[in-house]
Symmetry: C2
Subunit: 340 residues, 2 copies
């Protein structure tokens, strides 16, 4: 159906429909200025030729690209949820998304570079690992939204989960179940670990309980090591709020290996609502980041910035407790023995 072997252009469609190129443009942009009859005729001509507007030319011709650039880390499954949510959040705003993956062979600054070369109007960085100074530099050039990472960088918007609140929810959930001797296996120096520690500490104090933090980390081995320490040192412990799901998995494994039942003898709660936590035979109670809400707020911020508003203060989204099978009522005798 096509004249040359190159794809049909607007010119071709115009010729076939017997109108000017500008009119074809009007029709394909759904802009006012064409009669219904002509509109139909043009669209028919386009369909006959297999015409597909050229996105590059469209972006070039337009004074604004209406493109939001998103960097994401490819193996990070939560970024998948975020991207999905970003698509639906961007839809009604008239902005389009351009994705740029970060991978071992393609570092973050390269990914960002590529988005800038496409003249994205704003940058949305998912859990960026860039130095704060590099992020601030980007913020100076373009509206920049950092999602899911706490960064102190001037001129940059931050949208993240309220990690402290996540641990508050975890602790309150356990307290509600009658637990009093609740430890926190922390994330060491991992991103977010400090906030989670603080959230745990505050929630424990508010409940009149004594906080006890065990050094952990982001991996299973960290959780496993912490569990061994708990088994050895703190016999009264009836519940653990662990830094993340991976660590919680290691923790659970050691606890069960030692003959303790979960949740009868000890309750465990993770963080992330990862695919592992959701597995039927794992069924880990955990704290879920709210991808949908994070995405909505991130797009909102981007649009706000593009309409001239200055960067706002950090936007914080509350996470949600996913109550599953690794938490249950505190064992009766333990509450008696350790209580007070």
């Amino acid at each position: 159906m096509r004249r040359r072997d190159r794809p049909a252009t607007m010119e071709d469609v115009a010729a076939r429909a017997g109108v000017s190129r500008a009119l074809v443009s009007i029709v394909y942009r759904d802009a006012p200025g064409a009669s219904d009859a002509t509109r139909a005729r043009v669209l028919q001509a386009g369909a006959d030729l297999g015409y597909r507007p050229d996105h590059r030319a469209r972006l070039l011709g337009r004074q604004r690209t209406r493109l939001l650039g998103v960097t994401f880390d490819v193996p990070h499954s939560f970024h998948g949820d975020l991207i999905e949510a970003l698509y639906s959040a961007a839809e009604p705003t008239g902005y389009d998304l351009a994705l740029s993956a970060v991978a071992p062979s393609r570092d973050e600054s390269r990914a960002v570079q590529s988005l800038l070369e496409y003249r994205c109007e704003a940058l949305i960085l998912l859990g960026p690992q860039l130095r704060p100074s590099a992020i601030a530099e980007l913020g100076a050039i373009q509206p920049t939204i950092v999602v899911a990472r706490k960064v102190r960088a001037a001129g940059v918007d931050v949208v993240r989960t309220d990690d402290a609140d996540g641990l508050r929810q975890a602790v309150e959930h356990l307290v509600r179940l009658g637990h009093r001797d609740i430890v926190h296996v922390d994330g060491g120096t991992a991103p977010g670990a400090a906030e989670r520690r603080a959230g745990y500490r505050n929630a424990m104090r508010r409940a009149g309980l004594i906080p006890r933090i065990i050094r952990g980390g982001a991996g299973e081995e960290d959780g496993a090591a912490a569990a061994r320490r708990v088994l050895a040192d703190s016999a009264g412990t009836t519940a653990a709020a662990v830094f993340n799901d991976r660590s919680a998995m290691g923790f659970l494994d050691v606890i069960r290996g030692a003959g303790q039942r979960v949740p009868d003898d000890i309750s465990v709660i993770g963080y992330d609502n990862s695919s592992i936590a959701r597995m039927a035979h794992v069924n880990l109670t955990t704290i879920a980041q709210n991808a949908r809400q994070l995405a909505i707020v991130a797009i909102e911020q981007a649009v706000r910035r593009l309409s001239g508003a200055p960067p706002s203060t950090e936007k914080i989204v509350a996470p949600t407790l996913m109550s599953r099978c690794t938490t249950g009522a505190a064992p009766a005798e333990s509450t008696d023995l350790t209580g007070g």
Copy 2:
């Protein structure tokens, strides 16, 4: 540093360096035709102005975009590995990658549409769910490479894992460990299940053993149900090759819950080498798809097609056995009792 509030253009750089726009283009394209001194002067001028070539205009001006469009499914972690591998495979060929995500709110044909609008020269579809006829239609318009899915569609290249060989490797591994009573928990109607079944059957026959297939599926519950059936009906079973890791996890859970030790009493092998399988306390022996090789072959096919070659026959990449802790020597007595 910039003149107007729009980003600097080639024109601006040319003016500042005191040369023509064409010369700046030559320098930024690393094309021959500029002296070293001028080159340096132009680059300096560009740096002063914070110049960044406009990718849209660059693509438009060029007769070829040198862009390979990739669709991927966002929550699918294996697609992450593939994307990473595609980036490194594409690097040396001079082609660039354009990503388009498939998500619940953005279906596959929409993702493809967007790639075509960017005038990608070839399409690389990761595990597409499109109907074969739709894929064939794409193949008629553009060179199209389907990765990680067995599709019969004329004019389309297919690059996929040799699933039958995966099960052959699994069976041979188990046979080498002395197992004779090896069941296969299959994937039912899931993609790839038929090949894996056939691979299992052939490998068993070649080893002089009797194949025994238990209906399974792609989820944990399927594996769990299959395990219950094995425990009830086939006491002699010493090993199971399971359709995928998820199903294997459910299988393991039930087996262990019934007091059987893994791998002492029964060996289990999964498929996918998913992140769950890699977890330290799981340590599931499994069959890994070779993302790096799949990517290399996919890019090769794309480049071949773009240099005018016709679609080739299906390219099949062998998977790799990841021997971990859920497989071990067959229990001695069982080999005696069931053997022969």
